[in-house]
Amino acid sequence: MTLSDAQGVMEKKRMKDRTKAKVKAALLDSFFVFYSILVVDRVIWDRFILQLRETHFSWAETGLFALISLFVGVVWSLTGTSLSDRLFGLAKPTKTAKLTFEIFGWFLFNITFIAGWIITKISIVDLFSDEGVAAAQRIFAALFSPRMAIFDEALFAIIETIYIALVATLISIPITLVVSFLSARNLMNDNKFTLLIYAFFRLISNFVRSIEPLIWAIIFSVWIGIGPYAGMLALLIHTIASNAKLYSEAIESIEEGPIEAISATGANKLQVIWYAVIPQIILPFLSFTIYRWDINVRMATIIGLVGGGGIGTMLIQYQGLAQWHEVGLIVIMIALVVWIMDYISTKIRQAIY
């Protein structure tokens, strides 16, 4: 390979990148048009102007909209004055391009906000109806006169919650360590095989993370039965996936120098990780993990609502029976524990740095 060959390769790469960006811009424009049609037709027209309760759905109509949008989007993008052209920096620097960007951007923002308002059924009347205000008053009064008779029971349940969170966090540490090393690009770019492992772990943890702990709790309570074990597993799996991302990002941002130096002594991969990588990431790891314990206590409460055990399960039971004085005590205790955990974890993390 000679120098001019190398330049030729670079030139081709630039051309390819530009074509790719152009195609992406056209697709994004089509999406914007599609989105506008749907919002205006289905939400603003059907639900607000016609006041329909049920909206109809047909693939034929939606498909037609999609085709129209694709056509409009591509043509629009070809003019070089479209929204995406400007977003991707491909637009011609003309007045028209700037004006379209402003007008259409403003239009998108407004229809989105109006549709959001319609969909959430915002209503001042409902908020201040006599009936509603009276019911709220009753609940608040009960909440602020908690029933101390169930204190022992609630204390035991909240300790269970804290332990569920603690165990999930502790078990997650060694597993997260391994997963995060396998999903750090700078450690896995040796060859195609290691890159494949990297991609695999990235994919799995992205998938696991995108499913909320609440849903994992539902899955596990069906799988192994309602209770603290299901709650713990739900937290564990989500903690591993979330912290693996944070950990691996920390690994990716470490200094390369020590890694290079230790490799240059003839050390093997594990030795390089132990001596050049771990000392650089140990503090951020500790900090993430403690913070995560704090989050897990809060999540364990929520997970309890769907059968993950602990204080959450107790809360949902009393709430179902409309025993608001008992609910009051539980809510106060949760607030207290969350506040204390938050305080402790902040203090520890400050002490580390």
């Binding site: 020590p258 230790i262 240059a264 003839g266 030795q271």
Partner: protein, 254 residues
Amino acid sequence: MTLLRVNQVHKIYPSGTHALKGVSFEVEKGEFLVIIGLSGSGKSTLLRCINRLHEPTSGNIQFNGRDITHVKGKELRQLKRQIGMVFQQFNLIKRRSVLVNVLTGALGRMGTFQSLTENFPQKLVDEAMEALKTVGIEEKAHIRADALSGGQQQRVAIARSLMQHPDLLLADEPVASLDPATSNSVMQYFEKINKKFGTTVICNLHFLSLVRKYATRVIALKAGEIIYEGLPEDIDDDWFKTIYGEEAEEVEIR
């Protein structure tokens, strides 16, 4: 005896940069070879090809009579053990003690399990203290590495490479982030190792006054090619301007 034979080596980075364009030279055992050249001329790339932190794109490199251009795995680690390297940024493990940093130079000789449990045999610890003595900072052994000054950190890095008992010591601008006086003292340790242990040294340098003082031979790179090869005292004004460009002026450093 010839220790190193570099033959028509090219290096093209994945980004397309053609950093070395057919570099050839030989190094005899015991030499103190200095490589000079402008920033970006390919000096670091050349050193990294020799100890195979990078793989040459074409050409070949022989070390101790063996072709090492494309060695892999265990063989590659064996090769790296025989070649020490010192960096401009020292590249120590900041949070660990000076002693542990020096001991990392012996990782290639230790079993994986033994090294991960940090169970260093007394013999290695003694050796590490000896290496620290060679660079004159044995009293700092138990201090955290990042508490040392730049010059001291570079001496720790030299001690680390001594633990490899290297046949060849590479140094990539080892004094470029140090002040003139410290630069000179650090360079003296390289000289000492070269003279006392007979270790061959290849060193990238910027200051000609240091080059004249320490080099037994000089190679100058320009845009990835060797444009000068000879004795340091033969670099006259004309050569200087060819190497560093018409605008350049020599600065003194003592």
